[in-house]
Symmetry: C2
Subunit: 140 residues, 2 copies
Amino acid sequence: MFVLHSQLAKDCTVIGDLSLCRVLLMNDARFPWLILVPQREEITEVFELSALDQRLLWEEVSAVAAALAGHTRAHKMNIATLGNVVPQLHVHVIARRHQDAAWPAPVWGAGAPEPYDEAALTTVVEALTDLLVTQGLQRA
Amino acid sequence: MFVLHSQLAKDCTVIGDLSLCRVLLMNDARFPWLILVPQREEITEVFELSALDQRLLWEEVSAVAAALAGHTRAHKMNIATLGNVVPQLHVHVIARRHQDAAWPAPVWGAGAPEPYDEAALTTVVEALTDLLVTQGLQRA
């Protein structure tokens, strides 16, 4: 049975489930930062997924990246699967802007996260849920 | 016409061409670090590629990552497309080990690159070319 890694559960808020991936919002208000986690057990590398799941994963990643890019008017999207700390396969989809707190460096290790306050978190989660539903990625 | 970005040409050595991507070796002996560049013009985001090219890109990335993981006995593969500095779409495929110079941090911004010496570069390029040919990714 798929269980979300405890570190991801601690750092993130769940937005919803796509066909393959659970979509999380990283609780760092400095960056619009989603994480897609394939709901499969014991997978640490992309190439351990079945061919069909790999295709689904990247289709979901591309679609979410395109939607988030439009929604945030990002200057660049960053897409990455690292997993050096949290082994459960997960893909970062991060909207970057020229004025953001880390540009042009990657976001990892760039200063301390700034958690959303409660009201902002609710607003962002609702907006992103709407976005994924509108794009046909997630059921309403 | 596809032209490799000058910064990638400067930092890397060409290994060869797959169906879609040119495969480069980053000239940093600290990490087995390949870069796949779709041979398409004026593309900066994955979702700007056609659906077919996107599928090809990720199939090539996954296959190269699996091959490099086996070849290097990596503990973890890092796969990322950032493009904050070099806008031409390119995907990093990096074999990470628990003892490497940056572990568990990402490789970007972690100290200074250590270029291969000429003999080592020749050896590594030959080994990686053999690997891609053996895996059926690249023509001999």
